[in-house]
Each structure stands twice: as structure tokens, then as C-alpha cells.
Amino acid sequence: MAFNLAEALSSIVTQADAADWRAAIRLAGDGLVLGGATTDAYTDEMIDAVEKHGPYIVIAPGIALAHSRPSPAVLTGGLSWVSLATPVEFGNKANDPVNLVIGLAAVDHDAHLTVMRALAGVLADSSAMERLTAATSPDDVRAVLRGLASVA
């Protein structure tokens, strides 16, 4: 079955306000919790990961992939989407400031590969990304995603 990222997003928040990178990750974590994917402990784990390993989760200009490892705080795989009204500094020299935080939770190292492939396809599409980061409602985000080619 064709798979579209729109179906994988357990929560979408657009043009959110975050005071700093911790607040931005917390919004992505709240989205995972709301979507039933994780407990609040996973949000803390995502923040701890950046404190421990640095802001490497800012994987491309303006985009942070907040995540931690599979843990008891992960109930099921999930993906949350938070676009920020005002970009936030994560401390990543090459790719700051961040205006999109994607929260990722996975139960193991393989289960989420279809989701990751779809995500990679979307994040590599710069014209789609422009429309996605400008979107002002969750419906807008889903509409743009549904308009993109699905991953088989």
C-alpha cells in the first residue's frame, strides 16, 4: 500500500511559539504524548539526548529531528510536527536557526523505516518544505503532504 507521511503524523502544530530549543523539543514531545505514542518521560529523554550529544539533531538548515532511543517511555511508533512562528537557536553552527521540529519515537531500530523513508523524501524536497514551513494550520500541512508522491 502506498504510504504518505500525512498518515504517519500523530500530531501537527503550526506557527508555535517556543522560547528556546528546550521549549521547542517539549512541544514536539507533547505532540507525541497527545498522539498516544509516548509518555512525558520520552520528552525529557529527547532533551537529555541533545544535552549529552549536542545539537546534532539539527540535520539540515532549519530542521531539527528530535528523538531518543527506544525505551519504556515509547508506547508505539510516532511522529509529531511543530513549525515555529519565530526560529529558535539550537547551537548548531551549520544549520541554525530552526523553524521546524519533528519529534520521532520508535519501538525498535527497524519498525519505523517506512516512515523514515517517507520523511527523507519530504525533507529533501525543498519546494515542498517551503510550503510546509509556511503552512498556518494542520490541515494545510496535511494537504501539502497528500499532494506529494507517496512512498510505496
Binding site: 539526548a49 550529544h53 540535520i59 538548515p61 548548531n92 520508535a106 531500530h109 527523507a120 529533501a124
Partner: protein
Amino acid sequence: MKIVAVCGMGIGTSVLLKMNAEKVLAKLGIDADVEAADMGVARGAAQTAEIVLTSQELAEELGDVPAEVIIINNFFDLEEITEKLTAAVE
């Protein structure tokens, strides 16, 4: 050729990096095995790999390994990955 894509957790950024590196390698016609790994696994895997792909922050954390460490800034910039991999392979 063995290549390791490293991230802190082994489920997120390294998986994306692996996918994009495989695209680039296929285009370049290079036969390579790309493995996604977290920092702990990577320290071991980097002993036998020829190339390590990672970010600036994690390269510093990984420290000295026998493999050639390539730092990728934009994980979705296939041109950047192509350029750096080509330079490393030659």
C-alpha cells in the same frame, strides 16, 4: 567498502543519513555497505569501516578512529554528500 552512518541514538539521523548515502553511492556506482549505528556501536564498527559519516558534534564525540571521518552538515543535500564521498573514495 564498509561505511558507518553515526548518530547519538541509531534510530533517527543516522537512518536518514544512511538512506541518502545509499542513494548517492548507487548513483556513483560504488559498491558499499552502509550501516546506521549509535555512538556506542559506532566506536566498535568504526574500527573496521573505511568511512564514517556523521555530524560535526558527533565527530568530536567519536574521537580518533582508523576510518576516514566525513562530516555532513546538511543530511538532505545530496550534492554535499556526493562531493564529500567522492573525495573520500578517490
